[in-house]
């Protein structure tokens, strides 16, 4: 029987339900704050989501400051005599190669430890002591050219991560041979990105996306509560995407032969040099690695690029919580099993992709 | 089972089915949807089921598709596979309905047969051409199955009653 009381009760319940639904689903109080800075030779963009715009701005500023700090510590190309040179641990380490151990900051020591760990794990594919070889190629400099065999051989002798001695107790680094040079190009950006992400992981931040020139790290969700979707560049057509992948509390880094290269005749020489041969690694066109830590993603994207596609995939499958997608030099798209439902590869005539 | 009378009549059904299959294949299609046919050949399948049973119905269906495709020249092609799947599935459906659900008249059975024939064809087509988008045609094919099934059922009923009068079933 519908009494007045019952009617009132029902009306109240309905109003309650509607308000709950409205509050929960429709009314979205999430704000976005986006910042951009030129860092580490690239444009870094940080987008944060949360309820308090002021807080977002402040935290983003902190994240950038942290990245700048890492940049200063790892900058190899600072001019001697400048304050930047004194600030850079890497410059000091390289200067004292063959001479004496150098005391470094916690962050740089952590980076070097990580590098050593992955030098072993990737059976030498990732080697930060590749500096001398990169220098004889001269990428980015006006005198970039294919080095002579003699020069390359001499430079290659200096490449061996085992000749880098780390003393954990004193936090020092010693490069045993004179002329050794460490180059953190394959890890510094990733490390900086991860440090920034750690800072952003605070109360009040419901989501964030850091994009350091293609080194991506996401946190939480963006405004509409959908997972992040990251596009993968087509290695041979910069106006198109190869596909896209879902990312959740992870980092995504891509190494490609189209970032920095020069042509000599018909051959393309790019900047990802193999520590084994001293020449640019030629079996892959691009490798995308997805894993939680951005520094590790950076390391692995370089290492897997240098390895053969088979070895790269095998290593990626072995490593926990790590996925990878490769585009081989033969234009074949391969990826680890874990990406099966997370990646969307766009059909193309140019590439072979086996969906099974 | 192998009585001469049955054998002769059975062969007639197969011949008739084949002829109808070929005839329909060359008819121009009224609607722009693949697979929309009158389904006249199903009349013989239906008769076979009502007169003899499931096994005979299946045999007639398979034979008429086989022979018909052979004559048209589409043996082992995509449309052959589609027709075969459709015919087999609809025969099964019709036989099962006839045997177990007495509530349906021959009209209902025929309509169910026509609809399942179309669905079966679509399933095979989507498998062979590797696309799910062909199911875009599903609603139309299902609905069109009703009038075509009704027509073939009606004709089958007339034929069946005639045959009964002639005491041939």
């Amino acid at each position: 029987m519908i009494t007045k009381k019952r009617l009132a009760g029902m009306a109240f319940a309905v109003i309650l339900m509607i308000s709950v639904i409205y509050y929960g689903l429709i009314f979205d109080r999430t704000r976005e704050y986006a910042g951009e800075e030129f860092l580490m030779d690239t444009l870094v963009s940080i987008k944060t989501y949360g309820n308090d715009a002021e807080h977002l701005k402040q935290v983003t500023g902190q994240a950038f400051a942290e990245m700048r700090r890492i940049e200063d510590l790892t900058d190899r190309f600072a001019e001697p005599g400048t304050p930047e040179y004194a600030d850079s641990d890497v410059c000091r380490i390289n200067e004292q190669a063959g001479k004496t151990p150098v005391a470094v900051s916690e962050d740089v020591f952590a980076i070097l430890e990580l590098s050593q760990k992955y030098f072993a794990l990737t059976k030498g594919a990732f080697d930060i002591t590749i500096g001398p070889v990169i220098d004889v190629w001269g990428f980015g400099k006006p005198d970039q050219q294919v080095p002579g065999e003699e020069m390359l051989k001499n430079a290659l002798v200096l490449v061996n991560n085992n000749d880098m001695v780390l003393d954990k107790q004193h936090r020092t680094v010693f490069l045993k041979k004179t002329g050794m040079v460490i180059d953190l190009g394959g890890i510094a950006k990733g490390y900086a990105t991860q440090r920034a992400a750690d800072i952003l992981k605070q109360d009040g931040i419901s989501g964030a996306l850091i994009n350091a020139g293609g080194n991506i790290r996401v946190l939480g969700r963006k405004a509409k509560k959908t997972p992040w979707r990251i596009g993968i560049q087509d290695p041979r057509d910069s106006s198109r995407l190869l596909g896209s992948v879902e990312l959740d509390e992870e980092s995504c880094v891509t190494s490609g032969d189209y970032h920095r290269y020069f042509m000599s005749g018909q051959t393309r020489y790019h900047h990802i040099i193999s520590p084994y041969s001293g020449y640019p690694a030629g079996e892959n066109m691009s490798v995308t690695v997805i894993t939680k830590d951005a520094a590790v993603a950076d390391i692995l994207s370089t290492a897997l690029f240098i390895l053969s596609p088979q070895d790269a995939l095998m290593l990626a499958e072995e490593l926990e919580d790590t996925e990878a997608l490769l585009v081989t030099a033969a234009k074949q798209i391969l990826h680890t099993g874990g990406l099966k439902n997370k990646v969307e590869v766009r059909e193309k005539e140019a590439y072979h992709y086996d969906k099974s | 089972m192998l009585n001469t009378r049955k054998l002769v009549f059975f062969s007639l059904l197969v011949t008739l089915g084949t002829t109808l299959h070929v005839f329909e294949a060359v008819l121009p299609n009224p609607l722009p949807f693949p697979g929309v046919k009158l389904g006249l050949a199903n009349i013989v399948t239906l008769l076979a089921i009502y007169m003899y049973g499931l096994r005979e119905g299946l045999v007639v269906a398979v034979l008429r598709v086989l022979l018909g495709s052979l004559l048209i020249g589409t043996l082992l092609s995509v449309s052959f596979m589609m027709s075969l799947t459709g015919a087999v599935i609809s025969s099964l459906v019709m036989a099962l309905l006839y045997k177990y659900i007495r509530a349906f008249s021959i009209l209902g059975v025929s309509m169910a047969g026509a609809v399942s024939h179309n669905v079966g064809q679509l399933l095979m087509a989507s498998y062979l051409i590797e696309t799910k988008s062909i199911f875009f045609y599903l609603p139309v094919l299902i609905i069109v199955g009703l009038p075509t099934g009704f027509l073939t059922g009606y004709i089958s009923r007339m034929l069946f009653m005639y045959l009964q009068k002639q005491n041939m079933s």
């Binding site: 193309k348 005539e349 | 008249s105 309509m111």
Partner: protein, 123 residues
């Protein structure tokens, strides 16, 4: 006609009707289309860029003969074909992601390549 027959008609008709409205919802529309793809016997044979003011026309080889495809702006269709039924020609123009043109005898499908919107690009 029995009662069961009539019920059958009504049920099937309703199912068909529902499917007619529901099926399009399951196809991914609302995604941006980037190009049209033509697949023949399971393999991609041609990708067609769809630029706003450009039209094109080209001919491909089917099993029994050629067929001609035409594009205009963001639309594509099979203009003529030597296939037996020519349903593909009768299909006409398609323009939204999810729509397809299928030629069963030639095992040809034409559809749009779409991309989910991305938040950032790696590479």
């Amino acid at each position: 006609m029995t009662r069961a027959d009539k019920n059958l008609i009504i049920s099937v008709f309703l199912v068909g009707l529902v499917l007619y409205f529901v099926l399009p919802l399951f196809t991914e529309t609302g995604l941006k289309k980037t190009q049209a793809i033509i697949k023949q016997e399971g393999k991609i044979v041609k990708t067609v860029p769809l630029t706003e003011n450009e039209s094109s026309r080209f001919t491909l080889q089917g099993k029994n003969g050629p067929f001609t495809v035409e594009t205009q702006g963001g639309h594509i269709r099979i203009l003529e074909s030597t296939c037996p039924d020519k349903f593909c020609v009768k299909r006409g123009w398609i323009s939204s992601p999810g729509e397809t043109i299928i030629c069963v005898p030639y095992e040809v499908i034409i559809f749009f390549d779409t991309e989910s919107p991305v938040d950032a690009i790696t590479g």
